[in-house]
């Protein structure tokens, strides 16, 4: 474990070095992601210019949910972005073999291979949104609340990544499962708003099937006036752990299929 952490650091440092050399790319990537997200947020603002409360949720509460989703998503984007490319760049081209002739866990190698600078745009925007909304929530922030919030954000990032890992694993059988991943990921757009505004089937899907509800909505209820979901909110880290274990187990099965059939 310590070895892998050190190794990750070396991979990370090498890529940051490259980013600093191509800093214009960095700025462009950063700005584009920032503005894409900013327009969505601005749209929420426009809606709330006409109404005060949406189904019992105020503007700043929704901003808060959005902030957790963005920061969680940024963890996925910065550190686990290479998962998207397994089919196209690794399995289809045969480059996956390269990961298998190294004395490393291939999943680790895959993830460490790419640090996605564009994710920083999401991270910065998410942090700003959290900062603004936290000041306007009727909540007394103590040190441990901040720690809890950080744990929730990390869990959120792991849930995004775990679900992504699960769906990319299909690439071992179908060469490129990108459309599947895309479909699953689009579902996460729902989870940036309070789940209570949706009908029951969608709520159930977002909680128990592809649990994106835990990436922002449930954790957010802990820090807002909505107390009906405390249990669900508190199991968020456990949900993240379970998702990652299931996805990794599935990945191992896929890997075994790959080594027995080739491509």
């Amino acid at each position: 474990m310590v070895r892998y952490m050190k190794l990750y650091w070396h991979f990370f440092a090498a890529q940051v070095k490259v980013m600093t050399e191509y800093w214009v790319d960095f700025i462009i990537g950063f700005m584009s992601v920032f503005f894409i997200q900013f327009t969505s947020v601005y749209f929420i603002k426009v809606v709330f210019d006409h109404i005060d409360v949406l189904n019992g949720w105020t503007f700043y509460e929704i901003l808060f949910i959005y902030g957790i989703a963005s920061t969680g998503r940024s963890i996925h984007q910065i550190f686990f972005d290479n998962l998207w490319l397994v089919g196209r760049d690794y399995i289809r081209t045969g480059n996956f073999d390269r990961l298998l002739i190294r004395p490393l866990n291939p999943l680790f190698h895959l993830i460490a291979d790419k640090v996605q600078q564009d994710g920083v745009g999401n991270l910065v925007l998410g942090t700003i949104l959290l900062g603004i909304s936290m000041n306007h929530l009727a909540f007394d922030w103590g040190f441990w609340d901040i720690v809890l919030l950080i744990v929730m954000v990390i869990s959120s990032g792991l849930i995004y990544s775990g679900i992504n890992l699960f769906f990319v694993t299909f690439s071992f059988w179908m060469v490129d499962s990108f459309p599947l991943m895309q479909t699953a990921f689009n579902v996460s757009q729902f989870a940036r708003y309070p789940l209570t505004i949706y009908s029951k089937p969608i709520r159930i899907i977002l909680t128990w099937v592809v649990p994106y509800g835990f990436t922002s909505f449930y954790p957010a209820t802990l820090f807002t006036g909505h107390k009906n979901y405390t249990t669900l909110a508190l199991i968020t880290p456990a949900v993240a752990a379970i998702i990652c274990v299931i996805a990794y187990g599935f990945w191992i099965i896929g890997l075994r299929a790959y080594t027995s059939t080739g491509n």
Partner: protein, 328 residues
């Protein structure tokens, strides 16, 4: 160093009927066919040997090498590389082996070569002193100095291949697999690469398995060759015997305006075979021990109108074909 016993690999291929209707049908009804990419082969390679593993495309070379690397699990049979069973103990095996695939990169695409090597140092946990000594040696030998600070994606094919080669030997592996390391390279780079492989083999006793379509590679590097076709081993032994048998063979292609009435000149009948006649080309096959190439050309030019001609050494493909038809 490498023991392979009764090794097989089967692939299941889904058969498709031609055309769109066939494609749609195959969505529902799938016919499976089992193809044996590698069919019960056995061989043993001693430490320090340089072995040419050759055969036509699709013969089963890559499949064998993938199994030796631990990338593929065999359907049947046993493998040991440096005492390790690759598919059961992939990571342990990975420390013992190095690999170069001529068509793909093992390095890190966006990162300067030097940083790539640094990462490899950490991945393989190479002691810093060894690493630096080897880097210095490799840089000198492969002339890497001017390209170390360039990202891999910007390198030319020849530069990339030299970097790849250094990368595969960096952790001083017991066995190195080189899959067409000279493909598409110019003569100078080929020469440089061969020299480097010879040097590594001498200095560190590295066992090398080389697949290639280039006879020069084989002649300059290998003492032993294994010829594989259709998943089975056709020949395993000394290079000298094969060279004796086939090394003197030449093919000359004559481009001619008219080939309809071509008949082999009487003076060539005893020593030369007609390999192929097409509309505009006649290919003659002979051994340079029986008759000189110049003589064949002179006789042909005297009898027929010839526009152009090319002389070809024996290719691996011809050798394999010959072994098939006549045996060794």
């Amino acid at each position: 160093m490498i023991e392979v016993k009764d090794l097989s690999k089967d692939y299941i291929i889904l058969k498709r009927k031609p055309g769109l209707s066939g494609a749609i049908r195959s969505l529902f009804i799938r016919e499976k066919e089992i193809k044996q990419a590698v069919d019960h082969i056995s061989f043993e390679i001693k430490p320090g040997e340089v072995v040419g593993y050759i055969g036509p495309n699709g013969a089963g070379k890559s499949t064998t090498i993938k199994m030796l690397c631990g990338i593929l699990t065999p359907s049947h049979g046993e493998i040991r590389v440096n005492g390790v069973v690759p598919y059961q103990n992939r990571k342990q095996n990975a420390i013992n082996i190095g690999a170069v695939y001529g068509q793909r990169t093992q390095l890190f695409w966006d990162i300067p070569v030097r940083e790539s090597y640094e990462l490899l140092r950490h991945i393989y946990e190479i002691p810093k002193n060894d690493f630096e000594a080897r880097m210095k040696h490799f840089t000198e030998y492969l002339n890497l100095g001017p390209i170390l600070d360039i990202p891999v994606r910007q390198l030319s094919l020849g530069q990339k291949m030299r970097c790849e080669l250094a990368a595969s030997f960096l952790h001083n592996p017991a066995v190195v697999f080189l899959d067409e390391p000279t493909i598409g390279l110019d003569v100078a780079v080929k020469e440089n690469i061969r020299k480097f492989i010879r040097e590594m083999n001498h200095l560190y006793g590295t066992t090398v398995i080389l697949t290639t379509h280039d006879m020069e590679d084989i002649e300059q590097l290998c003492q032993r060759i294994i010829i594989i076709d259709n998943g089975s081993i056709l020949y395993d032994g000394d290079l000298v015997a094969v060279k004796e048998r086939f090394g003197h063979q030449r093919t000359i292609h004559f481009e001619m305006p008219q080939t309809d009435h071509f008949k082999l000149p009487a003076s060539l009948e005893s020593t030369v075979d007609v390999a192929e006649i097409t509309e505009s080309r006649v290919s003659l096959l002979f051994s340079s021990r029986d008759i000189k190439g110049a003589e064949v050309i002179a006789i042909m030019m005297a009898e027929y109108e010839v526009n152009d001609l090319t002389i070809k050494d024996t290719s691996i493909e011809t050798i394999v074909k010959e072994i098939y038809e006549r045996g060794i």
